[in-house]
Symmetry: C2
Subunit: 419 residues, 2 copies
């Protein structure tokens, strides 16, 4: 395989995760190992930065900054939810690549991004511009098919399960069979995150909290819910409920009172599943309830990130570079796979971008217990390895310190583009 010489470009897109910057660090550090890669550029705000030619010089960043990426929340290069909307966007991206001799394009994103990358890869081939396009998966929601799990998910559920354990200790102190607490977690379309809260249970302690897990996969039935809560309260000092924000009623509508508002990206904004449940508990059962909502603070909780997840995020980034440079791959998404071994070991693989389904990977129905509000052992076995280990932070004056890239701009050489 002859080596393709030129520059590389890496971008981040979609909602940040606690470890998306670890993937970025993996790309940068691996790219430095390959002489055929001349310059290492970052695109600001995903493909928006590509279209606008907003490129920065990542090789100019200090080693300290690159190290700090591994323990910094957010997306250090900025992000976007934009995917190419018209043919011209693809053409423009290629123009930018050619203008800056970009021969390697690494894009950290979710399923929607992968379809876009596939088109980009096809257009480059069509135009006879030799380049390699590789997708690197990320998402807190674990909903990208074709990979065993997604970088970002392990840290998300480690923090959720930690939070459940801590709330449980607090609730245990207060309750006398009369206290309900609710933790609302993310998950618009799937219950992967809510399901992960089950890791808070100790082995062989099925009555440990969370006592009730409400998944978007299972339509919410208020009568059953009231009965379930009452059953827990009769047995325990308190009832701890975890609910995915995307919980739907029997008609398939979000239970959230806020379901009708939409954000700037056209996504329905969910804010109220926890408060909705609190209302039911207080009016129907007549006991005191409180709800918490992690929201953005949950996915950004790098201070409680999983080392395994961080390592795998980094690995996915570096594997992208290796596949592109050493194996000449293009039009692929890196995957995480479980090695055939007695104990958990994660390896990377790849899949054609065209084979990454746009639809969300659903939580397997066979991992949900018959009661509809708890997870069984196969899920626990699947998820436990993903939360192992604690990421070391850099602390200063009592608070974690996060990366601030210098982001030295590369001169623009093309006329401006209207997105």
């Amino acid at each position: 395989m002859s080596e393709l010489e030129g520059n590389c470009l890496v971008c981040q897109s979609g909602g940040p995760t606690a470890v998306i910057n670890a993937s970025l660090a993996g790309v940068i550090e691996e790219a430095l190992n390959h002489e055929c890669i001349e310059e290492i550029y970052g695109g600001l705000n995903g493909v928006v930065g590509v279209l606008n030619e907003d490129l920065v010089d990542l090789a100019a960043e200090s080693q300290q900054a690159i190290r700090l990426l591994k323990s910094s929340p957010g997306s250090a290069l900025g992000t976007c939810r934009y995917v190419f909307k018209k043919e011209e966007d693809l053409e423009r991206a290629l123009e930018v690549f050619k203008a800056h001799n970009i021969r390697y394009f690494f894009y950290i994103g979710d399923s929607e991004s992968m379809a876009m990358l596939d088109k980009l890869d096809a257009l480059a081939k069509e135009q006879g511009y030799e380049m390699r396009v590789i997708g690197i998966p990320k998402t807190i929601n674990n909903d990208i098919s074709a990979t065993d799990h997604t970088p970002g998910y392990g840290s998300m559920i480690k923090h959720v399960a930690t939070t459940v354990r801590e709330m449980a200790a607090d609730n245990e102190s207060i309750g006398e069979g009369d206290y309900v607490s609710i933790l609302e977690v993310q998950g618009r379309n799937s219950g992967w995150i809510a399901a992960g809260s089950t890791l808070a249970k100790r082995r062989d302690q099925p009555h440990d909290p969370p006592h009730i897990i409400l998944l978007p996969e299972i339509a919410f039935d208020p009568e059953k819910f009231v009965a379930d809560v009452q059953k827990v309260l009769a047995r325990e000092k308190y009832c701890l409920i975890v609910v995915g924000e995307g919980l739907v009623d029997l008609n398939g509508n979000y239970v959230s009172a806020k379901a009708s508002s939409t954000d700037a990206f056209g996504h329905v904004q969910l804010g109220g599943a926890g408060e909705f449940l609190r209302g039911i508990v207080e009016t129907r059962i007549g006991v005191s309830a409180r709800s918490c909502k992690l929201g953005v603070a949950g996915r950004a909780a790098t201070h409680n990130a999983s080392q395994a997840d961080s390592d795998e995020a980094y690995l996915a980034g570096s594997a992208a570079v290796v596949q592109a440079v050493e194996n000449g791959k293009s039009g692929k998404m890196i995957t995480l796979q479980r090695a055939e071994a007695d104990s958990y070991k994660c390896e990377t693989g790849w899949v054609d971008l065209a084979d990454v389904p746009a639809t969300s990977k659903q939580l397997p129905a066979e991992w949900i217990n018959d009661d509809g509000v708890s997870m069984n052992f196969p899920f626990v076995k699947y998820a436990t390895p993903l939360i192992q280990g604690e990421v070391n932070l850099q602390w200063e004056n009592g608070l974690p310190v996060f990366v601030n890239l210098k982001a030295t701009r590369i001169d623009k050489v093309l006329p401006a583009y209207e997105i």
Copy 2:
């Protein structure tokens, strides 16, 4: 001073903090040093356990358990919000003390508890029963007067400030001058916790988040709020707002939509200040907003507790025993004081229980900037030492392990009592 021989009893009350169990550990470990203390009992659920004679043998707990108290959330002995409501309660408590030869009573609680302890101390003296009653302050809200600060507060604001830094990194990735995020924190009557979020700002970076801090001390004016947010959005990529749950409008009513519901303890339940603000931002400014609410998960976040706070909580517990045993003090609350020194050093002192005001200690108005939505340097200087250092947790299989006391019961010797 002749040593008073007998048993000691320790209880926890009110809302748990991240370090209230460190105070319990301080009492237990110091009590073990004094031969005049024969048995070390714990009362379950505060004074409710005293009235019900629900006592456990703390000397029977393993050393491992006592060590684990220092990094466990919740109140390991259980808690209560009950304060003696009738003269009979005081009489009954004395009866229980006499029946179990309790000569030392240590009570970890807030201002309300201190007034109750004072009555108990007076009644013991009146009845000629020699015993020593000492209060140990705790609260996330920092609202107990007569002590420089309260164990529990430092950990609370360390977690809030960490969360702000993490949300900021996430928001910075997403925003383009059009993104508002809101963190709702506890604080029914005072803004101590919301104010603490200012520690997230780097030194000499007044424009760092949190951009707007809304304190219950300052009546909420929607017009000014909209203008403040717009000003931040014109300058920054996003606007991060921290709001205390007890924010009130110009008429002194809670802004929270849920202000009319009350919990089992008769406290007004606040849940909606964050969502209330989100509504204003979306309808009045027309930009996307999201809110997070730490709630119980915030005060229970021992995984991100302050070592300084934990050490001081422990110190307050051990000082209570020392004051009672070595100095024969009774009817006092332990205080934390800043030593006269160039750098911060915390010492303990004491104050008469009768001199602990029942009213909440207010955030000094002179520490709030003229803009009404930010804190000045004297506050930062006050609060910074309280968040230093990180508590070491015991981790197992990716999650923190918390204490589970054996709680070996002491036989009851009195007839039951109706609370």
